[in-house]
Symmetry: C2
Subunit: 512 residues, 2 copies
């Protein structure tokens, strides 16, 4: 079923320039030769997406939801081949990938349900006031899709944040055609998923340009995609350098477009004194459990621990160090990620301000040193974390004040900590998209209330989330229709309310 | 009462460097010497804003709403001095400015009501599922303010789009302190309003940094304000070059921030054939009524008319030309705006593709010429408009396809036009923030359904509006709280729901 094709709408294309996939564990070449998509393929995919944009965007919610459900069905229909190929390409274990498939399918079904509900249209009607002086026109507002979206998947979640991941699912939900730039670290997995999406497009009778898949191993391909004038927004999960490069290309277009890049985060964990005193050893072990998940290759990996210096923190460190020593050796996703990890750890080893604890890449420093050297706050993607020893709560606050924007922040607290925690929480809230207590940041639920986002540089646009139903608002914009004849209004705004939406009329929400 | 001060929180400061105000009609110097705010003033204002940010952002909705209502009260309390000063500085007539004051005050009261309602918090709760495998955490999401906002008012609406205009009102509503860069074209008006806001801050017992006012005549002042790391978003209404300059500064900051710049638009009007045949003369006269409003200095000024060539369009042109000849001579806001207008008209006069009609700055061209020369689509701010003669509906569609993003598009339609209008509307919708039928684009209602925005370059961020209650969402971002003890949660998310908000729980909106 995998033949290395470029999938542009309904067409499968082969190009002479090829790249290969590698088994993560051994580095050996696996799978067929994969075609490298060209500039002509970018243009072709974008042209088809532009043609599909209006009809797909105007589709009745029930039909678009049915398509998204069909994508989920087609992914499940691939069967075990998907898991086998993804295991080989990523080195991730079966249970993790089966779980990730469940999450990917569940995410699609949640967006389908949200599309059906129609809340995303935000239909708002201020009826005419012909008697007023001057008369008020009839004003009706709804959200419409931005247009074709370019999606760049991540290597670390080959299903949930890749070809049919959250960005694609939320763009489809918003009514935007999607052109995916396939990640070269899992091209077989990507092609299987892309074929599943294509089958759903066909079975639902949608315009072929609703989805295209451009595999490739070069940055130039991604740049060409973002530069194409028919692309109206970008979803990206990956490195800070990669995300910022796309932001720059998007910014310099004749028509700049939004880029939603989820880039880097060290996810500070604050161990409050009473919690640390009460359960230092348990916290140390649980910390390593979170740190080593997925070989440390989670965006929400706890890369920074902040606590008061003293015997309680020593107990935490000893427990963490022992747990890390006992952890199985990580298999990293790609040679590139492994090399970046090695370089990041070497930089910490070469920094006199950071002291290595035990055998793993666990380091410690003081608040004074951390504040003096911003490089200590850089993300090291993988199983690496830095513990910052502080002399008092004021120093903890100072360390937090120095942090850049983050996806998450975690508080370990006992009831006795609550008074001290309030000002700390206030500082953390200003820096992050999600604050959590007495848990660990790895693991991002796909729900309505989730925020997987945060101020720059955690993301390039801290006003949004890339996980949860709110993610679809990234690809929508409001349009107001003034005094239009009912026959010309979109169905969502027509007087008869054919889609049975709950609307806001004169400022008052209609009941369910 | 006006003494040319810089108002930083509660302090009134004078600087040695001064600038003067001019009467719009005569060009004569009026009012006191105005202090030019310095870099130190920017830093001081931003430092105070940063201190005010957390307490103002966390304020109970009823208290923040009371403050916004107090701003409206204080503006009314200025009395007729406000109107007199604004008339002199802008050349706008009394009725227009009294109307604009009413609009400004009404806008503040509408935001106050919206703040009280609490809808903007978008409280979303996905309760814990301890029995699930794995258990689901308790997830609670709400919007929080971005932090201090820099506001740049426009010269053409000295009240409604200036110191206490829509940007300031919506930023206050979102819970953001505001630092205004005062417009040098109406510094007396600006200072009166700034003093009114300051009185409201004081009477409500809010931190002084909630509002500061920096008058000045240089671009450097505005640039310094946008570059200050404590500023977290920017609202701007003005020229394309001014807006893009601020976008560039914001983009190059170590932490880039959103800029909501409302910049330029030529607001195409499509005269559909049946409408044109039925009421060519009336449409021509009404078109000039809209074009000459406020001396043509409206963002929504109809600068482009698109119609089928023929005798009906000739009748429209003759009627428009006669109405324009009969219109009173415009008083423009500033010498700079007048000079830009003169240059824009001279460029059209020098362009062989544009033919002047009659005595005023009314021009015509053909669809072929318009498509071949993009400069014909540039905004000429003032009483100037271009009529594009098309041979058939297909050419009308081609002209629309060539357009950049716009604030508005207008259709003049009769029932017989509806079939032809549907594809035209579909094309227009993709380019604009507001589509209207059988009206004129000047005049922007402040309501829930309004969109005063649109794709680039109408604005720098087409996902938003700068007018209407939706405008406050520009200054908010979502944060998720996971498993936080109730005592640490913001009131909006606490189990007891002390603010009596309607929340979305497990995907279901609570009834009113």
């Amino acid at each position: 079923m995998i033949d290395g094709s470029i999938l542009i709408g309904g067409s499968a294309i082969q190009r002479d320039v090829k790249f290969r996939a590698h088994e993560a564990a051994s580095g050996e070449v696996i799978g067929p030769e994969y075609s490298e998509a060209s500039q002509a393929d970018v243009e072709n995919a974008c042209a088809k997406a532009a043609i599909a944009s209006e009809p797909f965007g105007a589709l009745e919610p029930a039909l678009r939801a049915a398509f998204i459900d069909a994508v989920a069905d087609q992914i499940l229909a691939i069967g075990d081949e998907l898991i086998e190929v993804a295991m080989a390409e990523t080195g991730l274990p079966r249970t993790r990938l089966e779980g990730e498939r469940g999450r990917t399918v569940g995410q699609l079904r949640m967006f389908a349900a949200e599309v059906r509900h129609g809340r995303w249209l935000d239909v708002t009607i201020d009826p005419a006031m012909p008697e007023r002086v001057p008369p008020r026109a009839d004003l009706r507002r709804m959200n419409i899709p931005l247009g074709p979206v370019a999606v760049f998947g991540a290597s670390n979640f080959p299903l949930a944040f890749s070809v049919a991941g959250g960005d694609t699912a939320s763009a489809f939900a918003a009514g935007c055609p999607v052109v995916v730039k396939g990640h070269p670290a899992h091209p077989g997995t990507g092609e299987l998923i892309a074929r599943a999406i294509r089958s759903a497009v066909q079975s639902c009778g949608l315009p072929e340009g609703v989805f295209s898949y451009l595999p490739g191993s070069t940055n130039g391909l991604g740049g060409a995609l973002v530069a194409d004038p028919r692309i109206k927004a970008v979803g990206f999960t990956g490195s800070r350098s990669g995300g910022l490069a796309l932001v720059e290309i998007a910014h310099k277009r004749p028509e700049p477009i939004p880029v939603y890049a989820e880039m880097s985060s060290i996810n500070p964990v604050v161990l409050m004194p009473a919690a640390l005193a009460a359960r230092a050893e348990a916290l140390g072990a649980a910390f390593i459990g979170s740190l080593t998940l997925g070989a440390g290759q989670f965006c929400t990996n706890p890369g920074l621990v902040i606590a008061l210096d003293g015997p309680d923190l020593d107990r935490f460190v000893a427990s963490a160090s022992a747990a890390l020593a006992a952890a199985p050796p990580p298999v990293m996703l790609t040679p590139g990620i492994h090399a970046a990890f090695t370089a990041g750890v070497a930089a910490l080893d070469g920094n006199a301000a950071a002291k290595r604890i035990g055998a793993g890449a666990l380091f410690e420093t003081t608040a004074t040193q951390f504040i003096a050297d911003r490089s200590l706050g850089h993300e090291v993607f993988g199983v690496s974390s830095l513990i910052v020893r502080c002399t008092d709560m004021n120093e903890i606050a100072q360390v937090i004040a120095e942090l850049e924007g983050q996806l998450t922040a975690t508080l370990q607290i006992d009831p006795a900590d609550i008074g001290d925690a309030a000002p700390i929480l206030s500082l953390l809230q200003a820096k992050v998209g999600r604050v959590l207590a007495n848990g660990w940041p790895t693991g991002v639920e796909v729900t309505h209330a989730m925020v997987h986002g945060g101020p720059f540089p955690a993301t390039s646009d801290g006003r949004t989330t890339s996980v949860g139903t709110l993610a679809m608002t990234r690809f929508l914009r409001p349009v107001c229709y003034q005094d239009l004849p009912d026959a010309l209004l979109p169905p969502a705004l027509q007087a008869a309310n054919p889609w049975k939406l709950r609307r806001r009329v004169n400022g008052v929400q209609e009941p369910a």
